[in-house]
C-alpha cells in the first residue's frame, strides 16, 4: 500500500495540527468525512501556499503590515521603525530620564560588576515574540524588538519575519546591533530571550563572537519590588511601579497562535496588536530602568517602605553600607508591619559593621517594640550577640538568649546560654553599663 493511501487514514496530523478541529467538526456535522477529498485537495493547496509564501511582499494579504521590507546582504526582513518624542512619558516616568542612569548604580542594583563601566546611553533594549513558549529548536522569534536612545529620543526598531525563511537576515541585523551596543537590557531575557536567540544563531550557523553584557531587569526589579508586588511580571511592574495601565493589550499566551494564523491563513490584523505589545514592552523597560535608578538616589518619602527595604537589601548585598543604612532607616520609619522588624535588623547590621554600637542597640530595641512578633527571636538573637560582644554585658545577653531558640535552634541556644553563664561567673565585677530589665 502506498504511503499516501496510508496517510488517508488520518483525520488529522495529531496535536498541533490545525485542520484537526475542522475535520472533527466535519465528522459530527456531515457524517463520514471525505478523507479522500482532504487528500485530493492537498497538492494544489500546498503549492499555492508555497508560492504565496515565497514572495510575501507582493502578496495582497500582507500589504497592511506596518513597516518596510529592507533588503540585506542575506535577504529581506521587515523593519518597523519608530521614534518617541523626547517628552514621551510612560505612565508617570519620563522615558528619556533613562539616559541619566549611572552605570555604577545599575551595576550595584544588578549585583553585576561587569556592568560597572558601561555607557548606558548605548544600551540596547531587547524583547522577542516567539512561535512557542516551551522553547526548543523549533521555536522561532518572529519579532525581535530593539530599542536604543538617539539624542534624547528612544528609537524603537522592530525586526519582523514575514516568513521563517527571512530568519537569517533578521539575525544578521540583530548581530550588527549587538556589535555596536554597550550592553543588552531585557526582561527575563537571561532565561528566555537570550537562550532562544543563541539557539537561533547556532541553527543558522552564525557565530556570535562577543556576547555583550546583559542586564535582566526581571532579577533587578524583583529584588526591589518583590515584597510589595508579590508577582513581578513586566505587567505588574507597569501597573504598580510605573503607574501605567495598557489598554487592549494582547495576552502573551495567544501570541504564538496569532503568528501561526498569519503564516497559514495570512491573517494580519491581530499582528498589529502584537507589534504594539512588543513596542510597549521595550518602552516599559526603558522607563523601569529610569525609575529603578532614579529612586535609588535618595529615599523618597512617598515611596513604599517595602520598596525602601528592597533597595536597602540590594545595597547591603552590594556592600554599600551607607546606602543600605539610609534606605533601611527610611523603611523602618514607615509603618509597614511586614517589614519594619527586618528594616531595624538591617540598620543594626550596618551599624555593627561601622562600629556604631549605640545605633545597633537602639535599632534592635526599636525592632522589639514594633510589628511582627514572629520575627522577634531573630531580634533577641542579634541583641544577645550585641550585648555579649559589643557591650560585654553578659546578664543582658543572657536575658535575650532565653528567646533565641527558634531563631538559631534549641541546641545552639542552650550552648549560648551556658557560655554566657560561664562568662558571668568569671566576671567578679559586672560591667558598669546598666540597662533596665523589662
Amino acid at each position: 500500500m502506498s504511503l499516501l493511501r496510508k496517510l488517508d487514514r488520518f483525520s488529522s496530523a495529531g496535536p498541533g495540527s490545525r485542520s484537526a478541529s475542522n475535520s472533527v467538526e466535519a465528522l459530527s456535522n456531515h457524517g463520514p468525512p471525505s478523507r479522500a477529498s482532504a487528500t485530493s485537495g492537498m497538492e494544489p493547496e500546498a503549492s499555492t501556499r508555497f508560492l504565496s509564501g515565497s514572495d510575501p511582499s507582493d502578496s495582497e494579504s500582507n500589504h497592511e503590515l506596518p513597516g518596510l521590507m529592507q533588503e540585506t546582504a542575506y535577504g529581506p526582513v521587515r523593519v518597523i521603525d519608530t521614534r518617541l518624542e523626547p517628552s514621551h512619558r510612560y505612565g508617570s516616568v519620563l522615558v528619556q530620564s533613562a539616559l541619566q542612569v549611572q552605570a555604577r548604580t545599575m551595576s550595584m542594583l544588578a549585583l553585576d560588576a561587569e556592568l560597572c563601566d558601561l555607557d548606558f546611553s548605548k544600551a540596547l533594549f531587547l524583547d522577542t515574540e516567539t512561535t512557542g513558549l516551551s522553547g526548543g529548536t523549533g521555536t522561532l522569534p518572529f519579532l525581535v524588538g530593539l530599542a536604543w536612545f538617539e539624542d534624547r529620543s528612544l528609537r524603537v526598531h522592530q525586526l519582523f519575519l514575514d516568513h521563517p525563511a527571512h530568519e537569517v537576515s533578521l539575525l544578521h541585523c540583530l548581530l550588527e546591533k549587538l556589535r555596536s551596543c554597550s550592553c543588552i537590557i531585557t526582561y527575563n531575557g537571561k532565561s528566555f530571550d537570550w537562550p532562544l536567540l543563541r539557539t537561533r544563531f547556532v541553527m543558522n550557523r552564525i557565530a556570535v563572537v562577543k556576547v555583550p553584557p546583559h542586564l535582566d531587569l526581571l532579577h533587578t526589579g524583583r529584588r526591589v519590588f518583590k515584597r510589595r508586588l508579590g508577582r513581578v511580571r513586566l505587567i505588574d511592574m507597569e501597573t504598580h511601579v510605573l503607574g501605567k495601565v495598557r489598554e487592549d493589550d494582547v495576552d502573551g499566551s495567544e501570541i504564538p497562535q496569532i503568528y501561526n494564523d498569519f503564516l497559514h491563513e495570512g491573517t494580519t490584523s491581530p499582528l498589529h496588536a502584537v507589534i504594539e505589545h512588543n513596542s510597549n514592552d521595550l518602552i516599559a523597560m526603558a522607563a523601569l530602568l529610569a525609575r529603578l535608578a532614579d529612586h535609588l538616589q535618595v529615599p523618597q518619602w512617598e515611596d513604599d517602605p517595602r520598596d525602601h527595604l528592597g533597595y536597602a537589601q540590594v545595597a547591603e548585598r552590594a556592600g554599600k553600607q551607607d546606602t543600605a543604612q539610609l534606605f533601611a532607616c527610611a523603611s523602618a520609619a514607615g509603618s509597614e508591619p511586614s517589614c519594619v522588624v527586618d528594616a531595624h535588623l538591617l540598620v543594626a547590621r550596618t551599624a555593627r559593621r561601622s562600629g556604631d554600637r549605640d545605633l545597633e542597640e537602639s535599632s534592635l530595641r526599636s525592632a522589639l517594640e514594633a510589628g511582627d512578633e514572629a520575627r522577634h527571636p531573630f531580634v533577641h538573637l542579634a541583641l544577645a550577640k550585641c550585648y555579649e560582644h559589643r557591650f560585654r554585658n553578659y546578664e543582658q545577653a543572657l536575658y535575650h538568649a532565653a528567646f533565641t531558640g527558634s531563631a538559631e535552634g534549641a541546641h545552639s541556644s542552650i550552648r549560648r546560654r551556658k557560655r554566657l553563664e560561664r562568662k558571668i561567673a568569671r566576671c567578679v565585677q559586672p560591667k558598669a553599663v546598666e540597662l533596665p530589665l523589662r
Binding site: L7, G136, A165
Partner: protein, 831 residues
C-alpha cells in the same frame, strides 16, 4: 558469624567425642554440619531422592566451553592496557578484540554474546581509545532503564580513573540536577542516558548540545533485545533523528549495539539503524558446565490431575539449594509471587538457622536506594538468595550466582535463557531449574522438556516505517531542524518523506518556503512541542508512593497500573517479606497509606477486561465462497480494564478465605482494532458442543495473533487479542447480523498502545491473507491436536470434556475443529 560458630563447635566436638564414635551411624541428620555442601551435592540430593527424581523431567548438562583469547590489539593505548593489567587482564577474549578492531575501523557492530561474557568492554575499549586519541571526542550510551545507566556510570568512573583519564562520564536523565546538566552539555566526554530523554530532552534542544554533537564519535546502545515491537520502532526513528542532528553539527557517529541472545541480532540491529551492522557473536568467554533441570510440581490430586503449587515447589527447590549453601537467584512471575516466595523461604529457613537477612527480594517498586543496597550485598556475597521479578533480567551487575530457579515459564525461550544466563561463574558448574506452573503453556513445555535445549530463540521485530510512528517522529524531527526538499530521513525513500511533509504542511504543522538558494524548506509552524506528545513506551511514568503510617515514611513507589491491583484499599501490600494493609488510597494525590500487619493471608486482585466498539470505520463480509460468511470490521475500540474485587489467599495452604469489593476508576484505553464476528449459524453447524467450538475459536484467535504479530513486524505484546461476546448488544460489533442466539463470538485484535499505531486497520487490509496464513500455520504445525505454536496449548484435562478426565475423549482436538471452521468460511488449504 554463623559460619564462625559452626566451625568452632565442630572443632570442639571432634576433639571431645570423635574417638568413641567409630561405630555410630553416620548420615546427614547425625551431623548436619558435616553434610556435603555445594551445587553438585544439592543436585545429587535431588537425584537420589526418589520423590524428587521422578519430578525431574529434564536433567541435562550443557558442556563447559573453554576460553578463547586473543592478544591485546596494538591500537589499544598504553594507559588502557596498564589499567586492564591492574585488573589482572593480560589478554582479551576473542570477541572483545574482534569488536574492538571493527569498531575502531568505524564499522557499525552488534555484539550478541551471553550474559557475563564481558560485553561492556566491547564498547568501552573503543570509546576510551578514541578519548585517548582525541580528548575532545564525545560518546553517548543509551540504556533502557535509569537503573542501568547509573550502574554503568559508576563502572565507567572507576575504569576512567584506572586509565588515568581526566574525562568524565555522567548520567543525564530526569533525576539529573540542573548544575550537572550544564556539565553534561558542555564538558562530559561520555553521556549515559535513555531513549526517552534523548527523544524529549536532548534532541529538541540540540543547539545547546552543539559541541557534544559536533564531536560525537560513538553511540552505544546496550540491551538491544529489549527494543522490539512498537517501542523498538519508536527508537529506530529516534536514531534517525539523532543521525540527522549529528550530521547537522558535522559528525557521523559509529554505532555499537550490544544484545542478549535473540534469533536475529544483526538483522535487528541493521533495521534499527537503517544501515548495515556486522555481527560479533562468537563468544570467547569460558563457561562452566551448566546443569539444566525441569522440575514439574508433583500431582497432589490424581483424580482432578491437580499439581502442587509451582510457587511452593520452587521454594522447596531453593530451600534445598540454600541448605547446601548454593547462592541462588529465584525468578517469580509477578511482584506478588515474589513476595510470597520470599516470605515462605524466610519462614522455612529461619527454622534451619539461616539468617532471614541473607534472603532478599528484588522487584520494581522498591525505592532506588533499597535496590542499590540489595545489589551491593549481592555482589559482596552477604546475600545468599534473591527472589526477583524480570527487573533483574537486564544487565544489572549483581555478580554471579551458582543457581537460577525460574518459577513459571517466562513466555519466551529468549527470556528463559536470559534468566538462566544469570547463573554460573567463569569455570565452575552452574544449575538452572525451570519449575513449570500448571498453565497450559508451561505444561506443554514440561511434556516435551527435552526439546527445550534445542528450541529456537525468538526473533526481535520492528517496523520503523509504521506510518503513525513515522509521522510522529517526522514532526519531532521537523521541529528539531527544518527539512529541506530532497533531504533524507534514515533509509526512508525520499518520495515518502516528501509525501509526509506535504501532508504535514497541509495540516499546518510545517510551513513550506523557498530558502535563498531556491530549495523548498519546511519550517515548523505551530506552538506545540511535539516530543511531549509522543511517548516511546505505552506505559506512563505516573506513579504512586506507599507511605507507612507508623513512622510516616515512604517505603515504595508503584506504577499507575500496578496501583490498581496491588494498592487498592484493604489490599495486603507485601514489601521485603513484611505485610502491610492499605488503609487509605488517596487516588488524587497518588498516595497509598499502609500500616504493618501480620495476617495469615495475602490478597490478589481480580481484573475484568472488556473490549467494546466505539465506531467501525470500515466493514466487509468475507467472500471466499464458503458456506458461512465472516463479518470483518476495523475501527476504534475502547479497552476497559477494571479491578472488580480481591481474593484473600491463605499463606501456605493457598486456600481462598474470602472476597472483597474494590471501587476504583476503570483503566480505559482507546485504540484501533480489527475484529472478526463468527456467525451463530457457523457455530451451530459444527458437530462439537458449543463450548468446545468457542474454545476452538479461541484457539483460532491464538493462531491469528501469532500470524498477525509476525506480519506486522511487532512484538506479540504490542498486539492484544481478546474473544468478546454479545453481553452488551448496544455496543455489539455485529448488530447488523441478527442471529437469535445471544452470542456472536468476536475475535478482537487490537493495538496495545493508547491511540493505536495503525495495526488494526492494517490487519483489516490484510484480512484474507491473515486468514490464509493462519490456516497455513495450523496445517503446517507438526502437533496432533494443538500446541502453543498454532492454536495454543490444549489442556490435557480439559474441564470442557463431558466424560470426565479419565475418558479418552478428554483430549479435545482443537486443531481440526479450527481448520473445519476456516474451511466453512471458504479459507481452504493453500496449494
Amino acid at each position: 558469624m554463623m559460619n564462625c560458630s559452626c566451625s568452632w563447635s565442630r572443632h570442639l566436638y571432634s576433639a571431645l567425642v570423635s574417638r568413641v564414635e567409630t561405630d555410630a551411624f553416620q548420615g546427614d541428620r547425625r551431623r548436619p554440619w558435616d553434610r556435603p555442601t555445594g551445587l553438585l551435592a544439592a543436585l545429587n540430593h535431588f537425584r537420589n531422592d526418589a520423590r524428587c527424581a521422578s519430578q525431574m523431567l529434564l536433567d541435562a548438562e550443557v558442556p563447559a566451553r573453554d576460553a578463547r583469547f586473543a592478544s591485546m590489539p596494538d591500537e589499544l593505548p598504553l594507559p588502557i592496557r596498564e589499567a586492564l593489567a591492574l585488573r589482572g587482564l593480560k589478554r582479551l577474549y576473542s570477541h572483545q578484540v574482534e569488536a574492538f578492531q571493527r569498531a575502531i575501523s568505524r564499522e557499525h557492530i552488534v555484539v550478541a554474546t551471553p550474559t557475563a561474557s564481558g560485553k561492556s568492554l566491547c564498547y568501552n575499549l573503543p570509546v576510551l581509545t578514541e578519548l585517548h586519541r582525541e580528548p575532545s571526542s564525545r560518546s553517548m550510551y543509551l540504556f533502557p532503564t535509569k537503573a542501568l545507566s547509573r550502574d554503568q556510570e559508576s563502572a565507567l568512573h572507576s575504569l576512567l580513573r584506572e586509565c588515568k583519564m581526566q574525562s568524565g562520564a555522567i548520567t543525564y536523565d530526569g533525576d539529573t540536577p540542573p548544575d550537572a546538566r550544564r556539565t553534561a552539555r558542555d564538558r562530559t566526554s561520555i553521556l549515559l542516558t535513555n531513549p526517552d530523554m534523548l527523544h524529549a530532552g536532548i534532541l529538541p534542544h540540540h543547539a545547546d548540545w552543539a559541541r557534544f554533537f559536533a564531536n560525537l564519535r560513538y553511540v552505544v546502545l546496550d540491551e538491544l533485545h529489549s527494543y522490539r515491537g512498537v517501542f523498538g520502532s519508536h527508537l529506530a526513528n529516534v536514531l534517525r533523528r539523532l543521525c540527522r542532528i549529528a550530521e547537522f553539527h558535522g559528525s557521523r557517529p559509529t554505532f555499537i549495539f550490544a544484545s542478549a541472545t535473540i534469533g536475529n541480532p544483526d538483522d535487528h540491529a541493521s533495521r534499527m539503524l537503517g544501515a548495515p551492522v556486522s555481527l560479533v557473536a562468537e563468544s570467547g568467554a569460558p563457561t562452566g558446565p551448566r546443569h539444566v533441570v525441569v522440575y514439574n510440581p508433583p500431582i497432589v490430586n490424581s483424580e482432578l490431575g491437580l499439581r502442587a503449587s509451582y510457587l511452593k515447589t520452587s521454594v522447596n527447590v531453593v530451600a534445598e539449594l540454600l541448605r547446601h549453601e548454593v547462592p541462588t537467584l529465584l525468578f517469580g512471575p509477578s511482584r506478588n509471587a515474589v513476595e510470597v516466595m520470599l516470605k515462605y523461604l524466610r519462614d522455612r529457613l529461619g527454622r534451619d538457622g539461616i539468617d532471614p537477612e541473607r534472603i532478599h527480594a528484588y522487584r520494581g517498586g522498591y525505592l532506588p536506594k533499597t535496590r542499590r543496597r540489595i545489589e551491593a550485598s549481592l555482589r559482596s556475597g552477604e546475600v545468599l538468595c534473591v527472589v526477583a521479578t524480570s527487573a533483574l533480567e537486564l544487565g544489572i551487575d549483581i555478580g554471579m550466582l551458582d543457581a537460577v530457579v525460574c518459577a513459571g515459564y517466562p513466555g519466551s525461550t529468549a527470556a528463559l535463557f536470559q534468566r538462566f544466563g544469570r547463573a554460573g561463574r567463569r569455570t565452575a558448574p552452574s544449575l538452572a531449574v525451570l519449575v513449570p506452573s500448571s498453565a497450559p503453556m508451561d505444561q506443554y513445555i514440561a511434556r516435551d522438556a527435552r526439546s527445550l535445549l534445542s528450541a529456537p530463540i525468538e526473533q526481535a521485530r520492528i517496523d520503523p516505517d509504521n506510518v503513525e510512528i513515522l509521522i510522529q517522529h517526522l514532526k519531532c524531527s521537523s521541529f528539531e531542524l527544518p527539512f529541506r526538499e530532497g533531504e533524507g530521513f534514515g533509509n526512508l525513500p525520499l518520495k515518502s518523506i516528501s509525501d509526509v511533509l506535504g501532508f504535514l504542511s497541509q495540516h499546518g504543522v510545517v510551513h513550506p518556503a523557498a530558502a535563498s538558494d531556491g530549495v523548498k524548506v519546511y519550517h515548523w509552524s505551530t506552538n506545540a512541542y511535539p516530543a511531549n506528545q509522543v511517548s516511546l513506551r505505552s506505559l506512563s511514568w505516573d506513579n504512586f508512593v506507599v507511605v507507612d503510617l507508623d513512622g510516616d515514611r515512604t517505603i515504595a513507589e508503584m506504577d499507575w497500573r500496578s496501583t490498581h491491583t496491588m494498592l487498592h484499599e484493604q489490599a495486603i501490600y507485601q514489601h521485603e517479606g513484611s505485610q502491610y494493609q492499605v488503609e487509605v488510597l488517596d487516588y488524587e494525590n497518588h498516595k497509598a497509606f499502609v500500616r504493618k500487619v501480620s495476617p495469615d493471608y495475602y490478597t490478589t486482585a481480580m481484573t475484568h477486561t472488556k473490549v467494546s466498539v466505539i465506531e467501525a470505520d470500515e466493514a466487509e463480509m468475507l467472500s471466499e465462497g464458503g458456506r458461512y460468511r465472516l463479518a470483518i470490521e476495523t475501527g476504534e475500540v475502547s479497552i476497559v480494564e477494571k479491578v472488580v474485587g480481591y481474593k484473600k489467599i491463605k499463606f501456605h495452604s493457598h486456600e481462598n478465605v474470602g472476597y472483597g469489593e474494590v471501587h476504583l476508576p476503570e483503566m480505559q484505553m482507546h485504540t484501533l482494532a480489527c475484529w472478526f464476528v463468527f456467525p451463530e449459524a457457523l457455530i451451530e453447524a459444527q458437530s462439537a458442543p458449543r463450548p468446545v467450538v468457542v474454545d476452538a475459536i479461541r484457539g483460532l484467535s491464538t493462531a491469528m495473533h501469532t500470524v498477525a504479530a509476525l506480519g506486522l513486524m511487532v512484538d506479540s505484546r504490542d498486539l492484544g487479542c481478546s474473544l468478546g461476546d454479545r453481553q452488551h448488544p448496544e455496543q455489539s460489533p455485529s448488530s447488523g447480523h441478527r442471529s437469535g442466539q445471544g452470542f456472536d463470538p468476536t475475535v478482537f485484535l487490537f493495538d496495545r498502545v493508547p491511540g493505536g499505531v495503525g495495526l488494526g486497520p492494517r490487519l483489516f487490509d490484510e484480512r484474507t491473507s491473515l486468514l490464509r496464513r493462519t490456516r497455513q500455520l495450523i496445517e503446517g504445525c507438526e502437533c496432533s491436536i494443538g500446541c502453543p505454536g498454532c492454536v495454543g496449548p490444549v489442556d490435557l484435562l480439559s474441564p470442557l470434556s463431558p466424560d470426565g478426565p479419565d475418558s479418552s475423549m478428554h483430549r479435545v482436538d482443537l486443531k481440526s475443529l479450527a481448520l473445519a471452521l476456516l474451511a466453512d468460511m471458504g479459507i481452504d488449504a493453500v496449494h
